[in-house]
């Protein structure tokens, strides 16, 4: 684990994450979460579905950022030619690769409310991340998806810029997929924060498992893509992102849409 992971996963990172409850606020309103036992079930399900998908997307984005960032540092391969034309072409390819991964996140997010929340959070994280860990790869990502990239993709790219590994990126995504809703539930229901942290501690084995599974899925996907193609520039455009996990959480979709239609809200999502 890289120490930068602690900064990245810290709720005090100024990237707007505290404004989102990940469906917890609506679940509380609907009576689906009334105490710590319901909350534990909510978080376990969220981690096994959205948590796994976002962790895999984050690991994939981290991997992609490292591949794209290796331009010019990896002499001897054809795509590292330093000519202006080649640089422009590789920049175009890099943007296309980011948009492809972003489209995979879209295809895994059926709910418009959830897509909106993911893009809002992604835009804020990328904005902060570019100032904290400046990197040409993050600039390319921001230009590729100017309206805001899905949050896990921003997270993975920023993780790469911060020097974190794919596994770190997956862990950060999995972790924030449950800590945000847990904190929100403390505020909404006035739960004992220590008891809620005990719930989170109980989910540590699940967190590790999800991060491991997500990293393996992302690595396998990228490595198969690279191995099958001649150059990284070609490879990043043809990575079989479809093989990444796509676990759906129909109740979260419903909660997200109901939440958007609720007038008095403490959280954005």
């Amino acid at each position: 684990m890289d120490a930068a992971l602690l900064l990245l996963a810290d709720s005090r990172l100024p990237a707007g994450g505290h404004a989102h409850s990940g469906g917890a606020e609506q679940a509380v309103r609907a009576g689906a979460i009334t105490g710590t036992e319901d909350l534990a079930r909510f978080l376990r399900g969220r981690l096994a579905t959205t948590g796994l998908v976002t962790a895999a997307l984050s690991a994939a984005a981290c991997h992609l950022a490292v591949l794209l960032g290796s331009h010019g540092e990896d002499g001897g391969r054809p795509w590292t030619e330093p000519s202006a034309a080649a640089a422009a072409e590789s920049e175009t390819d890099a943007r296309a690769a980011w948009r492809e991964l972003d489209a995979e996140a879209d295809a895994r997010t059926a709910s418009p409310a959830q897509r909106y929340a993911a893009r809002t959070q992604g835009r804020l994280l990328l904005r902060s991340g570019r100032r904290i860990w400046p990197s040409p790869v993050l600039d390319t990502l921001a230009q590729a998806v100017p309206d805001g990239v899905h949050h896990p993709i921003a997270l993975g790219a920023v993780a790469a810029a911060a020097g974190c590994s794919r596994h770190d990126a997956a862990m950060a995504a999995a972790y924030t997929s449950i800590t945000g809703p847990a904190t929100a539930a403390v505020r909404l229901l006035g739960l004992d924060p220590v008891v809620v942290h005990r719930v989170l501690a109980g989910l540590v084995p699940d967190l590790s498992g999800v991060a491991r599974t997500a990293t393996a899925a992302a690595s396998g996907t990228v490595e198969a893509g690279v191995a099958a193609r001649g150059t990284a520039a070609e490879a990043v455009l043809r990575i079989a992102w479809e093989e990444l996990p796509a676990h759906a959480a129909p109740a979260l979709d419903l909660l997200a849409e109901q939440h958007l239609r609720t007038e008095v809200r403490l959280f954005v999502s």
């Binding site: 469906g23 679940a27 689906a32 979460i33 319901d38 079930r41 909510f42 978080l43 376990r44 399900g45 969220r46 096994a48 579905t49 959205t50 489209a103 995979e104 879209d106 295809a107 895994r108 997010t109 059926a110 709910s111 418009p112 409310a113 897509r115 992102w241 479809e242 996990p245 796509a246 676990h247 759906a248 959480a249 129909p250 109740a251 979260l252 979709d253 419903l254 909660l255 849409e257 109901q258 958007l260 239609r261």
Partner: protein, 272 residues
């Protein structure tokens, strides 16, 4: 293959090509089966170019451009390896339905999974309605469902899937379903449903207290325009996708309620 539609005297040949027992055990043996249906355009009308059954997947033509899946053996059972290929040629129209729900059962070997892979291609300007009866997960089953749906430019699809968590009062076995849809080479919808881990199934984030989950994917010009924003009612959300299409997603305590919710959601799409 010469199975045409529209003729009242038509008799549908049913061929059991490719169906072969692969493993012994108690009850019936595990089956390897590859069934296929393909349409073609003939004189401006849809004809069935291929209609190949492979028990337990038996296909019967029940009307012009309409095929029913008829179960000719119990199951799927653990160990079964089943495949259905659907090819809707450009400009043709095909409806696939089934006469009864599919009851997924454990096989003679407890650990053996049953697998059903459905590969469907919908050609340019073609329309596919896929509306089988629900898949019911009996206790102890271990089922894997894979749907790969490829839509070419201007293709239309209405694709319904319903999964019921066990018969009445029954705790379901395990199921892992994956649906992948691409439209014009771009991913439109990718979803996996996992059933059978009680800690996750009952999560208020996943299925809550529902006993069934279902979706209908509607895409393409034949099924009108997606609503401008999501529409919701009890247990049902009509979700405009990022690409050109709409997902009706529903949870329900029982299969009739699930169907009613999906049907309600489907009517929220503005007509073509």
């Amino acid at each position: 293959m010469g199975v045409t539609t529209g003729g009242t005297t038509e008799v549908t040949p049913v061929q059991a090509i490719g169906a072969a027992p692969v493993r012994g055990g108690t009850g019936r043996r595990a089956l390897f089966a590859r069934a296929a249906v393909a349409t073609a355009l003939s004189g401006g009308r849809t004809v069935l170019d291929t209609l190949r059954s492979a028990p337990p997947l038996t296909l019967r033509q029940t009307g012009p451009g309409t095929v029913h899946l008829v179960a000719t053996a119990a199951g799927p059972l653990g160990g079964d390896d089943l495949g259905l290929s659907i090819d809707v040629a450009p400009g043709t129209v095909l409806t696939i339905a089934s006469v009864a729900s599919t009851l997924v059962l454990p096989g003679p070997e407890e650990s053996a999974e049953s697998v059903l892979v459905v590969d469907a291609r919908v050609g340019a300007g073609a329309t596919l309605v896929y509306a089988p009866e629900p898949t019911v997960l009996a206790a102890g089953c271990a089922h894997r469902m894979v749907v790969r749906l490829t839509l070419e430019e201007g293709a239309s699809v209405s694709w319904r899937e319903e999964i019921v968590f066990g018969r009445h009062g029954e705790r379901p076995g395990r199921c892992h379903a994956r649906f992948d849809t691409t439209a014009g080479g771009v991913p439109l919808l990718r979803q996996e449903f996992v059933v059978g881990d009680p800690a996750v199934d009952a999560s208020p984030a996943v299925y809550g207290d529902a006993r069934c989950v279902g979706t209908t994917l509607l895409a393409g010009p034949a099924f009108g325009t997606p609503p401008g924003e999501a529409v919701i009612s009890a247990g049902c959300a009509v979700l405009p996708l990022a690409g050109q299409g709409t997902l009706v997603s529903a949870l329900a305590p029982d299969a009739p309620t699930l169907r009613a919710r999906l049907t309600w959601g489907e009517t929220q799409i503005l007509p073509a």
